[in-house]
């Protein structure tokens, strides 16, 4: 019996199973959380009872992190070159060397309560595509639960673009269908079935000639994207046994969002770039493409769980007994970075989006359970993917914490006997020095990210600048600094003594800050924006903890406790007017 026909194929969580299968699946749901928490508890315990062993572990870990940074940076740099190369290729000319006229693109654009402008921007991108638009089948997948406004937007867009594309179909996903969560998976599956019944079958288009792109509604494609995708599809051996993955660039509103949101967005992009060079580890993520033939065979995306984008990869991997992969196309699609009207709300939304992505850990027990049940997959592949996935989820939730917080624990908890050792004095120096070297990876990442950032929109620099950064305030800051500067040559001893005695750290930091403020106050808004975009990378240490490790642990803990996420949290799409 093919694995697709087993009752295990569309299992979301342990509660969908019975008996021993349920126990096994539940144990696998515990696994990532236990591993991550176990690591943290182990380091804390070692720091208290065996601080020397903890210090050994941390030193070894620091070196491992440094080497891993270099190793991944190598991939990142190569993908940057490949991405830029692919963006310069004439894909139309490339396609002309192949027989491609039969290939149709079914683009599914699911949306909930996003604005008309957001939907329009996605469609406008497709309309500007260089691919033959008559073979572009667009489905506007609205949700019934979003109300009549969403339906009205879909209808209006259908009318606007009907003549542009080969077909524009509006599908309204009914609310409350049995066996479905409220989320993107059920919506795009419903839309794909509607497209199959109303367009593909009606027009007698063979399934194998249709590439399905499941986009987020904020996805804006480059004019050459579909040509590039088609070329990769046609030149891939065993093309129906592959997903096609672009690189998500969160550029649509990148200049509008706070620095921390930009860093979180670019972190996701940079990670995807690394994975593009390690295709054997790549799974589908966010906006991706799959052959309709492959999708139809497995019943499209799963409807009873949140992480449909990566789950579809594992569905197809298991259905094809391991003969399935993701093809990196190293071509960007542009999406929205998380943004909300207030900075606090933006931070909350970034966290919630990261949590939703990291809830993808729910695929780990499904994958491992599938590997146990589907013995037709070669053992080597099962072991390899298990190790890769387990290491990935474990490192994501624990490594930032080890590097930034837990590495200091032996010094704090190790007791005086440990604190007296040369090892305890050297531990922070070794960690600091290795991390400084590892920062070179961050510098490379920053340069790559900067190269992808669009030019600051005209007029953006004319908008209101922060009250505390106006030129007039530069004078005020200068006035505050002046006494120190004037006093220094006149009475250096007195100043030094004053600083020594009272306010050493405060005064030093204040002086540095004031000088920085003076410089910043004298800059134009545009210069300030570019300075901010460079300085934002200093936030990475906080970002990887706040929006990596903590939501990662949060997700793994919820999975461990069986507190399954039952609803897909739709990231609100906000853009400032000038970016629409």
């Amino acid at each position: 019996m093919n694995f697709v026909e087993t009752p295990y194929f569309h299992v979301a969580h342990a509660r969908d199973l019975k008996g021993r299968d349920r126990v096994l699946f539940r144990a696998l749901e515990f696994f990532p959380g236990v591993l991550s928490w176990g690591t943290i508890i182990l380091i804390v315990t070692l720091s208290i009872y065996a601080p020397v062993a903890a210090a050994y572990f941390i030193i070894a870990f620091d070196l491992y992190w440094l080497l891993k940074t270099f190793y991944l940076s190598l991939h990142q740099r190569h993908n940057w070159k490949r991405l830029r190369h692919n963006m310069s290729v004439d894909w139309q000319a490339m396609l002309e060397t192949l027989k491609y006229e039969h290939v149709h693109h079914l683009v599914i654009l699911p949306f909930y309560k996003e604005s008309r402008e957001t939907v329009d921007a996605a469609l406008r991108g497709l309309a500007e595509s260089h691919y033959d638009r008559s073979r572009l089948l667009v489905v506007l997948a609205a949700e019934e639960r979003a109300g009549t406004e969403a339906e009205a937007i879909a209808t209006a867009m259908e009318e606007k673009y009907r003549a542009v594309f080969g077909s524009v179909l509006v599908s309204i996903h009914p609310d409350g269908l049995p066996g479905e969560i409220k989320g993107k998976g059920p919506n795009i599956t419903y839309a794909a079935i509607q497209a199959r019944d109303k367009i593909i079958r009606a027009r007698h288009i063979p399934y194998k000639h249709v590439i399905v792109s499941a986009f987020d509604i904020d996805t804006v494609v480059e004019p050459n994207y579909l040509n590039c995708l088609t070329w990769h599809f046609l030149t891939t051996e065993d093309r129906h046994n592959a997903s096609y993955q672009p690189v998500p660039l969160y550029n649509n509103n990148i200049w509008d969002v706070p620095a921390i949101s930009r860093v979180a967005a670019f972190s996701s992009t940079l990670w995807q770039m690394i994975q593009q060079e390690r295709a054997e580890k790549l799974t589908s993520f966010s906006s991706h493409a799959i052959s309709f033939k492959a999708l139809e065979r497995v019943g499209f995306w799963q409807k009873n769980m949140v992480s449909d984008d990566s789950r579809i990869f594992w569905n197809l991997f298991l259905a094809n007994n391991g003969n399935y992969r993701t093809v990196p196309i190293s071509y960007p699609v542009s999406m929205d970075a998380t943004f909300a009207p207030s900075t606090l709300q933006t931070l909350v939304n970034v966290y919630r989006q990261q949590f939703r992505w990291l809830w993808g850990v729910e695929n780990l027990p499904y994958m491992m359970f599938g590997f146990i049940k589907n013995k037709a997959i070669p053992l080597k592949q099962r072991v390899y993917h298990t190790l890769v996935q387990v290491e990935g989820w474990w490192s994501l939730a624990t490594h930032p914490l080890i590097i930034l917080l837990l590495g200091w624990l032996p010094l704090i908890l190790g007791g005086e006997a440990f604190r007296d050792t040369v090892l305890s004095y050297n531990l922070p120096y070794i960690t600091r020095n290795l991390m400084i070297v590892a920062m070179s990876g961050l510098v490379l990442a920053a340069m790559i990210a900067f190269s992808f950032m669009p030019k600051l929109p005209e007029g953006d620099g004319d908008r209101k600048r922060p009250r505390w950064l106006r030129p007039l305030h530069g004078l005020l800051f200068a006035a505050l600094v002046a006494p120190y500067v004037l006093l220094l040559p006149v009475a250096p001893d007195a100043v030094t003594a004053f600083i020594d005695t009272y306010l050493e750290v405060f005064v030093t930091i204040s002086l540095v800050l004031l000088f920085v403020l003076i410089v910043l106050s004298c800059m134009s808004n545009r210069q300030l924006k570019y300075i901010g975009a460079s300085a934002q990378w200093l936030l990475v240490p906080f970002s990887i903890v706040l929006f990596g490790a903590i939501p990662g642990l949060h997700a793994q803990t919820r999975l461990m406790l069986g507190a399954y996420v039952g609803q897909f949290w739709v990231t609100p799409k906000h853009r400032k007017e000038h970016t629409i």
């Binding site: 210090a55 050994y56 030193i59 070894a60 070196l63 491992y64 080497l67 891993k68 270099f70 190793y71 190598l74 991939h75 190569h78 993908n79 070159k81 490949r82 190369h85 692919n86 290729v89 593009q276 060079e277 390690r278 295709a279 990196p328 190293s330 007791g415 005086e416 006997a417 007296d420 050792t421 040369v422 090892l423 305890s424 004095y425 050297n426 531990l427 070794i430 030094t496 600083i499 020594d500 050493e504 750290v505 030093t508």
Partner: protein, 328 residues
């Protein structure tokens, strides 16, 4: 088409990284534990010395060799790569201050800690006389333009010198009754009594602290005066002791035993490893750390003085006529 990163490059980098990790980890751990190459490529495990300092801009020497100049922010000094099983003379100096010198032992894989005690060579003393002159307006009966009045600062300082008792002495009010011509008369009096807190009771009893005078406690270190000597001990047995009570050459109870009788003492401001003591010769700062010779530095050397440290860390010296105050 530009191909992905080649498998050969990836594998080479990966295995090279694995090799560096396998070779580098023990080397790093060994280095962190102080292992260094000695003579004839022998491996020795070195030790270190860590000098805590409250002073900025000091210069540190070890065995007469310059180690480093400390700036405004980084005051402490870590001296590494010291051959073990011998002592080193550490010398810390700063312009206008008395130098601090200490001989410290170094053990393999251990860092010996010490804390600098340095006083200015010259103090600026402010004299507070008993009375002060204030201007007055001449009147019909007096042509004087000024008059002597009691100095309020002097009066205020006198309050601090009225009594001299330990930290745990409290006033207890008692009432006694007597019969006077058949009438019961109550008399209230206040007596000073030593009351140790709960966590000090056991130690106080075993060390007979009630027989001592000027018992004080700061951050787990209890000190007291007995027979002209100052004693100190670490009383938080469940916690790790500070380095002065921990290092091999020290005992659990430290003793400042001079030829001169110590008349009184107080904690050095913000420290529990140094005291200010009074002898017939003057007022001195003394470190408790008894490894090698103690650093003893004078505030003022005159006979017949007494002193107090005020809550704002001002040192006040009384010579029987005027108060002298200084801060440093």
């Amino acid at each position: 088409m530009m191909p992905p990163l080649s498998k050969r490059v990836r594998m080479t980098t990966l295995w090279l990284s694995v090799l560096i990790f396998i070779v580098g980890t023990p080397l790093l751990i060994g280095y962190s534990q102080g292992y260094r190459l000695g003579d004839a490529l022998s491996l020795i495990q070195t030790g270190g010395i860590y000098i805590h300092s409250d002073m900025a801009n000091t210069t540190v020497y070890i065995d007469g060799e310059f180690v480093e100049d400390n700036g405004v922010l980084l005051k402490n000094t870590l001296i590494q790569n010291l051959r073990p099983n011998r002592t080193y003379e550490v010398w810390v100096e700063k312009d206008e201050y008395r130098s601090w010198v200490k001989e410290l032992p170094v053990e393999p894989n251990l860092v010996t800690e010490a804390r600098v005690l340095m006083l200015p060579k010259n103090f600026e003393w402010e004299i507070v006389p008993a009375s002060t002159t204030v201007p007055v307006v001449p009147t019909a009966t007096s042509t004087a333009t000024s008059t002597l009045v009691a100095n309020p600062v002097f009066v205020s300082l006198s309050e601090h010198f009225k009594t001299d008792r330990g930290q745990f002495v409290v006033d207890v009010a008692t009432t006694t009754y007597a019969y006077d011509s058949g009438v019961r008369v109550a008399t209230s009096t206040t007596i000073a009594e030593v009351q140790f807190p709960e966590d000090l009771m056991e130690f106080a009893s075993s060390s007979e602290l009630d027989q001592a005078t000027l018992v004080r406690e700061r951050d787990g270190v209890v000190s007291w005066l007995r027979d002209g000597d100052v004693y100190a001990a670490w009383v938080r047995r469940e916690d790790d002791a500070p380095h002065i009570f921990r290092d091999a050459t020290t005992t659990q109870e430290l003793l400042i035993d001079w030829e001169d009788t110590i008349l009184r003492y107080q904690w050095y401001p913000n420290r529990n490893d140094a005291v200010i003591v009074l002898t017939e010769r003057g007022v001195y700062a003394v470190e408790l750390d008894d490894r090698s010779q103690r650093n003893i530095q004078p505030f003022i050397e005159e006979p017949g003085l007494t002193f107090r440290i005020l809550p704002d860390d001002t040192l006040v010296v009384w010579d029987g006529e005027v108060y002298r105050t200084t801060s440093w």
